[in-house]
Symmetry: C2
Subunit: 298 residues, 2 copies
């Protein structure tokens, strides 16, 4: 070691990886790092990975299937020891992932998963989470609850919508069809327009379940412009508990997802799989419970 330092020797990780057939790198693919859920998850993954001497390579698919395919291929070709993926919104087929699994690379799916692949998974209990917060809206005396969310092709959207429905139905309520708004992109502006639309109809809701905090924040802004009192005239519920949800006013009732811990768990599972070697691994599906955070908007 002394001589190494004297000679300014530094190991070449490429060569080491080549001979060892492992790079001590985990690859992570997320839709974006520009939202707290994802960046926190990544921090959780890193937290565990570092302890085990692993580095983490982060990639953003930017919700593009094409890019996701390229990234997964690159990751596999870089001989990363494991890949953690949260699918893009566009992703409907999973051949690109099955392929790297066939090549013997451990894969773990988190948050945005699919049923078709036989891997370990870490997901939020979206059904129960959505059900709980909808029940909370109902407990506030709301009966005409609208749904503001994404296309039901995306698993997460489907689950949350079903949870929402389940809560409604179990108390004998129904959702009028024009209270179901699905948008392709989860943006502030889209949500705002959604509220305008809902409020201009003859059949105004008295509460809105929003698929994500950013939608609820857009909804809130629409309410301000329209002079709607929140939560008296219209209660708003979000999902995710982004920092922002605490800072807006009225502050936002939402479901808190333990994103950091989910990342940690995901890393633990895949490292387990990596370290137990090539024996037939048992794939675990961990379903994480989000918790209700009640604030002013309900």
């Amino acid at each position: 070691m002394k001589l190494a330092k004297e000679m300014d020797y530094h190991p070449n990780l490429l060569a080491r990886g080549l001979i060892n057939k492992k790079s001590k790198i985990l690859g992570v693919v997320v839709p974006t790092i520009n939202r707290q859920f994802w960046s926190n998850s990544i921090s959780g993954i890193e937290n565990i990975a570092y302890k085990d001497g692993y580095n983490v390579m982060i990639f953003q698919s930017a919700e593009s299937f094409q890019k996701e395919v390229e990234i997964v291929e690159t990751l596999a070709n870089s001989r990363v020891d494991g890949i953690l993926i949260a699918f893009s919104k566009e992703t409907q087929s999973y051949g690109h992932v099955q392929q790297v699994m066939d090549r013997g690379i451990p894969v773990l799916l988190f948050e945005r998963v699919c049923d078709e692949l036989n891997t370990s998974k870490v997901v939020t209990d979206d059904f129960l989470g959505a059900k709980k917060i909808t029940q909370h809206l109902i407990s506030r005396g709301k009966t005409r609850i609208a749904y503001l969310g994404g296309p039901l092709t995306l698993g997460v959207c489907r689950d949350r919508f079903h949870g929402f429905q389940s809560a409604i139905k179990s108390v004998g309520l129904t959702m009028s069809p024009d209270h179901f708004l699905a948008m392709e992109e989860f943006t502030f502006e889209n949500a705002k327009n959604g509220i305008f639309q809902l409020w201009n109809s003859k059949n105004r809701p008295d509460a809105v379940f929003c698929f994500a905090d950013i939608l609820a924040i857009g909804a809130l802004d629409a309410c301000k412009e329209l002079g709607i009192r929140v939560p008296e005239q219209l209660a708003l519920a979000g999902f995710g508990n982004d920092d922002t949800s605490r800072f807006v006013s009225p502050s936002l009732t939402t479901m808190s997802q333990p994103s950091f811990e989910m990342g940690q768990l995901a890393a633990k599972l895949i490292l387990e799989e990596i370290n137990t070697g090539s024996e037939q691994p048992i794939f675990k599906k961990e379903v994480i419970q989000p918790t209700l955070v009640i604030r002013e908007s309900t």
Copy 2:
């Protein structure tokens, strides 16, 4: 290519990197990806890098000097083709970076930089930005402006403070010493306590220049609790133009930093350096102007 596909051949990027002495990977080191400025910068870097066939490896120093040193070493040992660094708050010495530069690896500094290293740099014009927004506060008739920021050991803090001072002095104002609050950690809570402290003194300010949006948001919350009217009794200015600054109410006046574009520029500069080969490169320092976004808090 056909045969390659038939045989399910995939190139081994480690072997390729070993022989080519280049990995087609850029390494990025940021304090955290959990703030929009950083995640947007990274998106900008990726945007340019991908076009040139480069992948981006992202690492978080978590504001720890020790971790930053380790990351830089790992990156160098992985034979990345270039390293983009934004220093951690703790970083005061730069030997770890000089070392990899001596090893012939191109390095670019962005946002959190230092004068000691001879590299290309991409920075915000913190001095002028702080000066502009302070002048804006002055133009609103404020005369007792407090400063809420970080330790002056951090270059960014120093520059913004000097810009603040310059604006104050140029109109013959002075800052009373107890209106200077420096905190180690830029958190909502710290900022809140700062406002409590300022408001409990005999010498209340009528405006606060906050080093970062999150501080202004904490300040805003303190104002709500204390019943201070913003901006009439106390005007608040932030820095960074995080999404949240638009969503709080009153919405926040702040300086907008073109983070995505700064990332793009940083990537362009280092790729230029990489592609021109080992000839003596000319190091550029790009100083980006932030723009004033006037909202309700002033």
